[in-house]
């Protein structure tokens, strides 16, 4: 996007004299800040801690599954490990990952605003997140929770002897943090766009976070109510879900998936936004079919609300409900297919630079394609009878959430790291990490598709001996994947202290965030920029 006014710094000004990090070094300057950029950092630090906590649980799970026998940890410990892995990764890493860190940091910059619409609510949402996190950590210390992240009733309400209540409280609390972030993003996108920045000129990253925010605001309250009902049944014995008290366990599944399926889109749409920014920048091409991309983002968000029943094909809902949910699930795959096609088409006649963010972006397209197409296989009712609750499902959703969202998150982090910190990181090591992720990921999760069709159920502590070879491959892959995740932690941290200054626009990228200094000024822009061009006005002959 070109700008008429507002760019007050020469391009060779590598290190701004004043920026959002240059004053206020005390703890209270961070903990009481209302600067969206600093709050982005607070989130970044918290979710990174939770990511590695959840990752340790994942590694222990994979170590246990190296052998068919339950010989590393007890069955109860194993059940607690996969439950904590799911709860932490979903509610404390994936859902806040891109929106609360990159979104928080970038949304005001991208729309040309000085902050989010409600800076103090933004800080409040981080505190709520932290309180929710403390409850969840307390649940781990107080003996863990063994219900799985799905809290299926009546197991979670009447049978489990673990700290279900603490975990449920943690998730209940953290929900309010997503709602507040969602409201903040929606209002900011509606009301605070810079002059000339019409809806059809918004970067797709903004569209994606906008759609995500709508889902957060509309779906999260349903989860909160459902968790409250769990607490009522568990504590007061009010019969809601347990049939022996007159309740209905299927009702829980309907309520739970009414939130948790849209939540899957909370966990992928922002990734799609990030990848759209990366692919255009490093192929020096405008996005192929901007309108189609924006429409597909919104239609995924809307259709995402009417497919929840595909989690319940074998649970005992009516046959015809099953058929309808399958139908809508096939439909929701269409906008995803269009997006994949358009990203690929964006490369056509571009000028492609294989930087680290681009490697992550291309990995995303590949892994998301596999994840999406296996979603179609699962949406097929007849196949789902066989592979429901097996490793096929585990592989599928990890392709979407880890292969998709985590890869996009890391890609985004690499893409905007120079903007956030003003520093460059090691080009070599970042490419090694991106490759380790791609190889490690496929090695970990591809064998699980085969395991699933062979019939290995998920959440199994022990398994028949002939599944061992595939499980061992998966566990070895997890080791490679762990390297892919640890490397960035090392070289990105290193770059904070030793990295070379990046300059305001090291990638020669479009978008308002690149018009300010790196790191940005405290109030983002000296003058609010005026937008005169559509998004991604890249020139193929320019670099």
């Amino acid at each position: 996007m070109s700008v008429v006014s507002g760019n007050a710094w020469p391009a060779n000004d590598l290190w701004p004299r004043e920026h959002y990090l240059s004053s206020g070094f005390r703890l209270r300057d961070w903990l009481l800040t209302t600067d969206h950029k600093r709050i982005g950092w607070l989130y970044l630090a918290s979710i990174t801690a939770f990511f590695f906590l959840g990752g340790v649980a994942a590694l222990l799970i994979r170590l246990e599954l190296m052998t068919p026998r339950g010989d590393l940890v007890t069955a109860d410990t194993y059940n607690q490990l996969f439950s904590m892995h799911g709860i932490i990764m979903i509610w404390f890493f994936l859902i806040p990952s891109i929106p609360a860190t990159l979104g928080n940091f970038l949304l005001p910059l991208m729309v040309g605003a000085r902050d989010l619409a409600f800076p103090r609510i933004n800080l409040l949402s981080w505190y709520i997140y932290t309180i929710g996190g403390i409850f969840t950590l307390f649940a781990v210390i107080a003996g863990g929770v063994d219900t799985g992240w799905t809290f299926y009733t009546p197991y979670s309400t009447m049978f489990s002897n673990t700290a279900v209540l603490a975990a449920v409280t943690g998730v209940f609390v953290v929900g309010f943090s997503s709602i507040l972030t969602g409201i903040n993003f929606i209002v900011t996108t509606h009301k605070m766009r810079a002059p000339g920045l019409s809806w059809m000129r918004l970067p797709l990253f903004v569209w994606a976070n906008y759609a995500t925010s709508l889902i957060m605001v509309l779906a999260t309250p349903v989860l909160s109510c459902t968790l409250l009902l769990i607490a009522l049944e568990r504590v007061l014995g009010i019969g809601i879900f347990d049939p022996s008290l007159g309740g209905d366990p299927i009702l829980f599944q309907h309520l739970f998936w009414f939130y948790s399926h849209p939540a899957v889109y909370i966990m992928i749409l922002p990734g799609m936004g990030v990848v759209s920014e990366i692919i255009t920048c490093f192929s020096r091409n405008p996005i192929f079919g901007y309108k189609g991309m924006a429409i597909s983002i919104m239609s995924i968000a809307i259709f995402g609300f009417i497919v929840w029943g595909h989690h319940m094909f074998v649970a005992g809902q009516s046959l015809y409900a099953g058929v309808m949910f399958s139908f809508f699930t096939f439909l929701v795959a269409l906008p995803s297919a269009i997006k994949t096609f358009n990203w690929t088409a964006t490369l056509y006649k571009g000028r492609i630079h294989f930087t680290a963010p681009m490697l992550y972006g291309l990995s995303f397209i590949g892994l998301f394609t596999i994840g999406g197409l296996t979603g179609i296989i699962l949406a097929s009712l007849a196949i789902d009878i066989h592979v429901h609750d097996t490793y096929f499902v585990v592989a599928h959703f990890h392709y979407i959430m880890v292969g998709g969202m985590v890869t996009a998150y890391l890609g985004g982090l690499h893409f905007w790291w120079p903007k956030m910190t003003g520093k460059r990181y090691s080009e070599l090591w970042s490419k090694v990490a991106a490759l380790a992720l791609f190889i490690g990921f496929n090695l970990t999760f591809f064998p699980q598709f085969i395991l699933g069709y062979l019939g290995m159920p998920r959440r199994y502590h022990e398994y028949p001996a002939d599944f061992q070879i595939l499980n061992a491959m998966s566990s070895l892959g997890a080791g490679v994947l762990a390297i892919g995740y640890l490397l960035p932690l090392v070289y990105l941290t290193w770059s904070l202290f030793k990295g070379q200054p990046a300059g305001s626009n090291p990638w020669n990228a479009k978008g308002l965030e690149w018009l300010t200094t790196s790191p940005p000024l405290k109030h983002n822009f000296v003058q609010i920029p005026r937008v005169t061009e559509p998004a991604y006005a890249y020139d193929r002959d320019d670099g």
């Binding site: 099953g322 058929v323 096609f341 609750d389 002939d466």
Partner: protein, 338 residues
């Protein structure tokens, strides 16, 4: 722990990429699955190939021709074309899979019914002739078998990979699973829905046998009372017969012939007297009060086990004046009556 492991039937297998095809449905499903894998595989290869090709041809320092990129109008047409093709392909796959699903889950009109009760962490089985098994189910090949499944505690899921069938086993409800085994042999039975500490040990096996061998196996099981006979005994020992049979002082609905018929309710409306209705009427008598009767029956909730319930229901069914004639209720649909 070792005790738990002792009854785990383990079936030796080598490394393979498809489970055995041991039921009529398995073959049909695998054909559809392989078509799906081919379609999805080709699409995946296409995306990877395009990324690699474009990545190489249009790498930053190549001199490839970058003129004449498609106009917005052209690209919109291409987009719509892709959308249409995908839509048609997806709808075809959707129709095929739904047809298979409905065929499998609707089930046959009548079949030999075996009762299966899941509980943490075992499967309890009762055959129509009264023979009982734990974690093992013997069935004849070439015959449609219906399993009536229910749970004593949490949700389990009854899963036989080699038959490609699965059904969640819910507490407080009856669901049915159908299959027709085609090849004699032993097949794994898994619990597929997480159910607590020893979920992964809630395993068993299906032993599919030729008809003659199955009959020999049955006769070796000795004489048992059928569920109907056991149910009749329970019917009097729990005192049900005191009110429901003969000229008792208390007026209670007559049960002979009630099964499979609509029952008028005092709240207005009717309800189909199926297994779920009979079950509810025993455990929660106030839920559906028959028109013209007072809600005086006590609840037997917590007093009658799941096995006993199935036997009492079998007995009440046997009180049918004319056998067959009515179709069995379709209790695959969600939810008992409103």
């Amino acid at each position: 722990m070792s005790e738990q492991r002792a009854y785990l039937p383990d079936i030796e297998r080598g490394l393979r990429f498809l489970p055995e095809q041991a039921s009529r449905f398995a073959g049909d499903l695998d054909i559809f699955y392989l078509v799906m894998v081919v379609v999805c595989g080709l699409l995946t290869i296409l995306v990877f190939a395009l990324i690699c090709y474009f990545g190489y041809r249009y790498r930053a320092n190549s001199h490839a021709n970058r003129e004449h990129i498609p106009s917005p109008r052209t690209s919109q047409r291409i987009e719509l074309g892709v959308l249409t093709i995908m839509f048609v392909v997806f709808m075809g796959l959707f129709a095929w899979s739904s047809d298979l699903y409905l065929g499998q889950y609707r089930g046959p009109q009548s079949a030999m019914t075996i009762n299966v009760i899941g509980k943490q962490w075992m499967w309890k089985v009762q055959h129509p002739d009264g023979a009982r098994e734990i974690n093992t189910i013997h069935v004849p090949v070439g015959e449609t078998i219906a399993l009536r499944v229910t749970s004593e505690d949490v949700i389990h899921s009854f899963y036989i990979p080699d038959f490609r069938i699965k059904r969640d086993v819910l507490p407080g409800a009856y669901r049915e699973v159908w299959f027709e085994a085609t090849t004699p042999g032993e097949y794994r039975l898994f619990c597929a829905e997480y159910c607590g500490s020893y979920h992964s040990r809630m395993r068993g096996k299906i032993v599919a046998m030729e008809q003659a061998a199955y009959q020999r196996w049955l006769s070796r099981q000795g004489q048992h009372d059928t569920p109907e006979v056991q149910g009749a005994r329970l019917f009097s020992s729990y005192g049900c017969s005191g009110c429901h049979i003969g000229e008792s002082s208390v007026r209670a609905p007559e049960l002979a012939g009630v099964y499979g018929r609509p029952v008028p309710l005092s709240s207005g409306g009717t309800v189909m007297a199926d297994d779920a209705y009979l079950r509810d009427s025993i455990l929660q008598p106030q839920k559906h009060v028959v028109a013209g009767f007072n809600p005086i029956m006590p609840s037997f909730s917590g007093q009658i086990s799941e096995d006993e319930l199935l036997q009492i229901i079998a007995y009440i069914k046997s009180l049918q004046p004319e056998e067959s004639g009515t179709t069995p209720p379709d209790d695959t649909t969600d939810g008992e009556e409103p």
